[in-house]
Amino acid sequence: MTEATAPLVVSELVQRFPGWVSAETRPGYRGELVDPVHITEIARAVKDDLGYDLLSSITAADYPAEGVQDVVYHFSKTTGGAPLEVKCRVARDNPLIPSIISIYPGVEFQEREAWDLLGIRFEGHPDLRRILTWEGFHGHPLRKDWHEPYYDEEFKPFKDRWPNASYKSAEDRAPLKDNLQFPPGFNPEGWIQQDDDAIYAALKREAGGEGQGIKTDQIIVNLGPQHPSTHGVFRMAALLEGEQIVNLKPVMGYLHRNHEKIGERNSWIMNIPYTDRLDYITSMSNNFGYVTAVEKLTGVQVPERAEYLRVMMAELTRIASHMINVGFLLNDLGAFYTPALYALKERELILDIFERVAGSRMMCNYFRFGGVAADLPPGELERIRGLVFERLPGTIDDLDRYLTQSEIIRTRCEGVGVLPPERALAQSVTGPLLRASGVPFDIRRADPYSIYDRLEFDVVVGRHGDVYDRYLIRMEEMRQSVRILQQVVDKIPAGPILAGKPAWTTKVPAGEAYARVESPKGELGFYIVSDGKPNPYRYHVRAPCFINLTSLAGMCRRHKIADVVVILGSVDITLGEVDR
C-alpha cells in the first residue's frame, strides 16, 4: 500500500517539472533526481501542493568514483504514508546547493551536519558552521577518502587480527603520528580557539539588536557543557536581558564519535551493537530501526513470534524511557530525586527483563536480521505478564496521583515552552514533542511497520504544546504502551524466532532504503545504501533527539533562564544520539 503511493506522487513531480526532475534509474534506488539549482522550487511544491508538511531527513552520500555527492531529502506527510525521497546530485569538488531553510526551517541542524561531515555547502543557510566536530577540524569525515586517527583498514574485519595477529594496542600503533591532519599553513602552537566568537556572533546577529523597554545590557551565559541540568555533555549559549532569554544556541558534539563512519567500516551485523549506543536509554528501539532498514533491502520475512518479541521489547523500552523523562521532571524543576527514584524503580524492573532475555541491561544487542537473538527464557513471559497486567498500570497511576496535580509542577510547567503546531511541523519536530503540540503523527500509525497495524492503541495528542502537555502525553503514552504489551503478551504465538539460520554475514543487495520507527524520542530513521558488499556503503541515522533540538531556541525565547532547564528536559534528549 505504502509502496504504491510513493511512485504516483513522484510521477506528479515529473509531470509538473519535466526538465528539472527525472526518474532515478540506478537499480535498487528509489525516488527522483532533481536538478540542484531548482531544489527550492521543488521543495516548495512538495510542501504546498503535494502536502508533505514535515521534512524527515536530509543527508548526503559520497560517490568519489563518479565525482558526485547525492544530497538526499525525505519528506513526510503527517497524515500518513511512505516518505517521498528526492535526490540532488552535486559535483564533489564544488558541492553547492541552495538551502531549503526558508521552506523547512527544520533543516537548520541537518544542513549544518551535512556540511560538517560531508562538505555540502548550503547557499542561504544563515549559520552554516560545523556542528558535531569543532571549528578547527580539517576535512569532512564522511567523505570516503577521509581517514580517522587509528585508521586500520577500509573495512572490518581487519586482516591483522587473524590468523597471524601480533597484538599492539591502538595507542601504540598511531600515537598522533600517521593520521594527524592539519590544514595548510596551520600552526598548532599559535592557534587560538575561534569557536566561541562565532557562536556569540551568531547569537547576537539572530537576536537582532537590543529590545525595547528599559535599557538593559545583554549578557551571554553558558549553560553547560558540564552541568547536570543538560542531561549529558551539552551546552547552551544563552543571550540574556536580565533574566530573560533573548536568544539561545545549542552547542553539541562533545560526545561525537562519528557513528556513521564507524558504521560504514563495520559489516552489517556489527552495526547492531553500535546502534545500542546511539540513544542508550532506548537501545531496543534503535536495534529495531536498523534491522528494519536492512530487512527492507534483503526482503527477509520475519517470523511471527519474532515480530511479537520485537514489539514487546520496543514498548517496554518506551515505558522505561518515558519513566526516566517523567521522573526527572521534578529534578529539572529543582526538587530532587523522590519521583525520579520511583520512576527508576519501574525502569529497573524492565531492565531486569532485558538482562534476562538479551543479556544486558542497556546495551541489549537483541535484534538480528530476520528475527531476534534469543527466545524468552523459561518463566519470563509470566514475569512480563505480571509486570504489564498487575504492576505497571498501578504504578503509572501512582505517579499520576503523585505529580499531575501538584501545584509546583502546574505553575512551573503550564504555559512554559510553548511550541505551536505550525512551528513544530516546520522545525521537523517529531515524537511526543510534536504530539503535545496537537499533531497526531505517530510512525506506528502513519507508516506502520512490524505488527503495529494489528494492535489496538491510541495516538495521544495534546492541545497546548507546553511542558505540562508533554508530561501528560508521556504519562498517557506509557498507558498506551501497557495496553499494547497486554495484547502482545496475550497473543504471542509459538514458533521460530529467526528466519533461516543464524548468520554472521548478511548478503544485502545493492540499493538504498530508508526505514523509520517511532522511538520514544520521535522518528528514528535509518538511511542505508548498499553496494552489495559485506559493509554498508552509506549509513545515516536520522536522530530524533538531534533534530528536536532545533525547536529549543524558539521555545526558550522570552522565558526566564530557570525555565530553560525544564524546557530542555521536556525535549527529552540523550546525548549519545544527539552527538552520534
Binding site: A170, I269, R356, M363, Y402, L403
Partner: protein, 201 residues
Amino acid sequence: MTFLPGSGMLKGLWETFKHLVDTYRVDLRWRGKRYGNAEGIQDRLKYDTRGIFTVQYPEEKIPSPENFRFVPFLVYDELENGEHKIRCTACGMCARVCPPQCIWITRAVDPATNKPLTRPSEFVIEADVCMNCGLCAEFCPFDAIQMDHNYEIATRDRWTDLRYDLQALSKPASYHAAIHPLRNHMEELERGAKNEEASER
C-alpha cells in the same frame, strides 16, 4: 471542580507517605530478615515487590541471569589424563565478527612441517575495547568462546591488566556449565547429534 490550593501537593505527599509505610510494613512481615540474604534479594527483584527496593552492593549482589554477558573467555575441556584441551581451533570466526575488533588470534604452526594447526598459539582480547555484545560467543562453531559473568574487572593499570591473553582467558568447561546450565545443555545435545551423524557416516 473547586481547586483547593495545595491539595495537589498534599495528594502527592500522600503517595510518598504510602511508600514510607510500605517499607515498614514489608520489613515487619519479613521480621528484619529481608537484607543480606538470597531470598531477600530475590524478593526485591519480583515484579510485585514493595518496600525497600535497593540492593546494597557490594555487600549484597544480584545473581547474574544465565544470558548475562560480559567480556568473553575461552573454554577448555579437562581430559581424563588430566590434560587441558582448549576447544578453540583458531578458525577466526570470533575475530571476524567482533564489532570493535578487539580479538587477536595467532594460529599455532607445526614447527616441523610449517603447517597451521587447529589451535591458537596466542589469543588476546582487549577487555577495555570489548563492548560485551556477545557476537563472538553467538557465532562460535565450536562453543569455545563464551561470555563471562564476572563483571568485577576493575584494575589499576589498563595497559597490562586489561589485555587478556590465552592464559587469562582460559576457563574450564565446568565453569561454563555452572554459569550457563541451559546453554551448555543445548550445546551438548547439538554436539551429540553431530557426533552421531559423523559416526554414522
